[in-house]
Symmetry: D2
């Protein structure tokens, strides 16, 4: 097994984009709990995200969501972010909250509604041009609740057509990443329910169209690391939305539900060439902190990814291959588990200090007084959430 | 197989309670779509529910939800309902929307929060006394999102204690029905996740404490009719919340996702003594009409239950038993399927006419002009939903 | 809605291939129950399959499995079958029962094992040449039980290489259909676990490589009709393995677990061009009659497919499209359900008589005395099963 | 967090019973692979089990299965075992492999078949008397494959009656533990599908009837530690069958699929009083080593349980309670995770040496030459498996 020292240089290559909406309120259909200090504006969300990067050095960029992060001047927002030490990253579109989208957006039978949704993506591309963002991420809520409600074939064809129009508009250095999701908010059929559909759709578009894999968007029991491997093999893995789940799209802290699964995913990422400075695969979080504190929740999340990445880097690949080739089932499994069971936390703490940050980011943030300050300062106004 | 004529008398015994909240807006965490004509008040919800009964003669009562249906004078609400031809039914409590309940209600570590939740149930019992309701239905959102967040054993013990206090308050003719749910809104553990837990809790309370089975609240693959059989066998099936699901707690129209499952459930209800005038098992709907029209959605729902009940009544029980005893697998299955595949719709249409209602309730309602009228009349105000 | 008379001509186009192994014994890892009359030879299996066609006129061909149906002279087997009124159909390979395949076959790290598995497929193609079969169906048991046991990426690459070699050997009129399966017999990862993987692999091969969809091979909750639609849209749906399931790959009688799902699948098949004389999509059964009689089990199965096909053909497509375009959720759903709820059994019975077969195939077979005869005749020898 | 030294004394209390059948061949319905050295007799299985205890000091007893471990003289078998340093433990009955049990055993409609199954349990009790076993474990394969095939209520009543007869026969110091299983080998309904059913049945029997929880026998997504907590709370947790799963009842090595889940289960066991010298809860394995070596597979398994037990014992309970009471979600979760992420392997290695066994049991066994010896010695005869 490599030593921590040997893998340490590779850890410096890690960058995990934060979602601006993780700093706003979120919840379930039953209740959205508010908390003192929740941001009211995109600027306040970005300020909070910058705190995560300050204490972890892991999150140099922030994904934004249009219209939730709509501002008058995106160049100004970019400068504001850069002043705080973070870049604006992926631009996420939203075609699920306008009344016109009740029965679909890019798949709608009404050409006018489809055009409205396409135009929204065009305006997102305009935002990208101003923010310097590379990726346009499309997650569609489109689907139906009842058999027969929609023509699922026609919807797929219209989806292809709408995506082609959007793809034609993105710049040469920009990418379209298409997310899939097993279900929710639609409960009978979803128009992009699985990686196969996303793959078929982006393959029809071109090289700069890729798949986004959200770790919470699969059927029960799905082997996610297999999909990671396959998409890397096919050259179509664009980005990750990390989170974790016990049941549905729970959007819990990444690694919280099944740390071993996260390890296995990262192991496939690393050996498939999806990790580090030479890879274009984007790592993002997409989580909801319904009951836990938001900024510490994001810090915990990036640390979880880092810890499991370290473990994944520790796998003794040569020994593993030898055991695999020899049909040594227990031996091969044991080599993988050795890396997983290695406690890298103390080494990571030292490594952080060597890079000029606190050894314990959770404690350092807690001691900083930031949380108390925003709780005190951010009085009045409307707390940010999914509503706007 | 019995003839339709032979089973027709039993159909007259059917009563399916409607949930007042089905007439208000509902949706997902992503969006709640409003619709013209949505009620603004408990009275308007009841008026809409009365329409369902008018066209189907199947839904003589309406369940209410406190605080969503809070009024100053429940006796007046009862009279208002009776004037419209419907009774007020089950009272549903709500301990998931106050900020104090973020970490639990009847299970909370803080005795003051538990008492608040208990007091809420006391006030629900007061409502029941005024409305003449028999059942207090408790569905708890209590649970945790992360391993370690709560002491799951301590929570169970506190739950038992809280329930005992509530049970002690209900009247001799009243019942406490305790619902279970696999997950949501809690994503790691739920305090009453399965029928076993609900059964163990109500068994500790007494004879007037029973289990409520919501057809959408089970793990994937669960054989629901088996649970129906078991609870009837144990004398602990209090009531149903009917709806249907493809994935999670989708709350779709009952029978929409898997009509054969609904048939199997009703078959077990019938032969287990859970159906009809001599049974105390309450049939209720608990659904969300996120994208479809609400009143027609409820009409469709009670008709689905009726159609499947008719099919269940048509099963040739003697022949089925004989085939079962003979080990005739295909024969026994075929006898059950014969009833399921029998198209009872024309017979039911005639039967309706014989009872003085329109043969096609969906068409009759659509032609009545009610929908247009409420869309026109109900302008202004705040449309009812889960928020209040 | 079209009348039965209007759709009747299309019913004559239906052909459902039977699996020879359905007539042998099958079971679970816990027990395989034998039954009197079970075939001992490929010839006896084919004779039984011919009975199904005799009473249903729905199953003019029989799929064979090598080596379970190995004979010295396949041309003679073909003649034998034709004399009984059925053709030999799809040839199914088997690379999961030799000791060498313990850790994989087409994906094995050892080139010699891979070549053995490839050679087996070559010999299957030789069989096809002799039997006149069009399709070579590959279902792979390959996978691993423990994380780390295998290099899942290397296995995928080797799979692609092995498949290319096999594909290169099939004739111009022959096809390779590649089946996917969620899990079993491998319990950590399966090398072809989902339609996306099968699609990616066959797309790399060429036009005569297609996907085989087994209705029991999906994750819980998967919307199978969506995959049917997608594969038809992509021109890659080669064949079906019909069966049904409540939990895993239960291999129950098609339509037994969820008849409505079967209806929805067939509706997508029909409207996607996958049904009838002009379509190349092959309909097959792949079932295990663990506890029920085998020949009646197969008769019941093809009748179930026929009944649901009739219902699917009855859907009023024009009205459905209009309701879909109008956003009439309940109306559109109702149009679909009208077809599903229509009892076509009496019409089908008459139609059978008009085509010269008995109105009730189950009863006619039972009355024929065939079952008693084979139970009496087939004494001694080794009953066929999965073992050989 | 306690130190390892502080918890070390409690580790000495651990005892994990091994299943004799884990040393024989097992597999899937597709194939059972044999391996050199596989035992041919109950004695050889016990000898292999003794090896596991020799290198781990964790498995002082072996569960036997009747008839798979049928011998003429059970007292002699007991002596033989004791000479090897292990006791005979739980006696497992088998009512799923005789032809009479095709449609059920303790639930069968035919009283003669039920009596045969009851008599089998009586003879198991006789075995227990001779072996000194405390527990009679009943896992029933009873169920049906098709809706309507059986009368699920009647079956439940007959089950209760049969169990009562068996329970009446066990001695004052003996226990009946009743296992539940979600599905397999039955695919529509299983007569004891969930903990609720097992709990209701054993509660009706008496104090010495308890529930056996097999960690692989639940619906997807089930929170198993919750059931552990609940059964301990209700005083009805009799024993564990440990193994792990990704999909169905995969019977993989315990801890292999989700080590964090195993940790959570053990944490609930420990704090619920189910662990150690003062507890009557029996820890057993129930696994199938389809592709990996059997003896090392069992060694790996008991080590996994030990490692996760150590981590569970390391949880700082006082700090955890304080964080839970304070509503500190991330803090509480973090305290639990700290224990889980602690690498106890080096401490356990030293602890083993202090107790006179090798620091690395896997390596010590591999170096012992035992595997080579049995491969050489055990030539001829019939390798043990599930068949007999």
């Amino acid at each position: 097994m490599p030593t921590f020292k040997e893998i340490a240089p590779r850890l410096a290559e890690q960058a995990i984009e934060l979602p601006s909406w993780a700093f706003g309120n979120s919840g379930t259909r039953f209740k959205v709990f508010g908390t003192p200090g929740t941001p009211r504006t995109p600027q306040e969300k970005i300020a909070d995200a910058a705190q995560v990067n300050k204490y972890t050095a892991l999150s140099p960029s922030v994904a934004i969501h249009i219209p939730w992060d709509r501002v008058d001047d995106y160049s100004a927002l970019r400068s504001y972010s850069q002043d705080l030490g973070v870049e604006l990253g992926t631009v996420n579109s939203n075609t699920f909250q306008d009344d016109e989208y009740k029965y679909g957006s890019l798949t709608h039978t009404d050409a006018a509604v489809r055009q409205k949704a396409i135009d929204h993506h065009f305006s997102c591309i305009d935002v990208m041009d101003a923010t310097g963002s590379r990726d346009l991420k499309i997650w569609l809520a489109d689907g139906t609740n009842y058999p027969g409600q929609g023509d699922i074939r026609g919807r797929q064809d219209r989806l292809a057509d709408s995506l082609a129009k959007i793809y034609a508009r993105i710049g040469d250095e920009q990418r379209l990443v298409l997310e899939y999701k097993f279900f929710e908010p639609a409960f009978y059929h979803t128009d992009i329910p699985d990686w196969g559909t996303s793959y078929a759709q982006v393959s029809a578009l071109g090289d700069r169209a890729l798949v986004c894999l959200d770790t919470g968007h699969h059927a029960p029991g799905t082997n996610i690391e297999f999909i990671v491997m396959q998409l890397l093999r096919l050259g179509k893995l664009g980005s990750f939305d990390f989170n974790s789940r016990f049941y549905a799209d729970d959007d819990l802290i990444v690694g919280a539900a099944d740390p071993f699964q996260l390890f296995r995913i990262l192991f496939e990422v690393v050996r498939g060439g999806g990790y580090g400075a030479n890879s274009d695969v984007a790592f993002m979080l997409d989580q909801c902190h319904n009951v836990e504190d938001k900024i510490p929740g994001q810090i915990r999340s990036v640390l979880n990814v880092q810890e499991m990445t370290a473990r994944a880097l520790l796998v003794d690949s040569a020994a593993l291959s030898a055991a695999q080739d020899a049909g040594d089932v227990l031996g091969a499994n044991g080599i993988l588990m050795d890396a997983f069971y290695t406690d890298v936390r103390a080494d990571l703490a030292s490594w952080r200090v060597s890079r000029g940050i606190a050894s314990d980011p959770m404690a350092a943030y807690a001691a900083s007084g930031y949380q108390e300050k925003i709780a005190e300062d951010r009085v009045g106004g409307v707390q940010a959430g999914w509503g706007a």
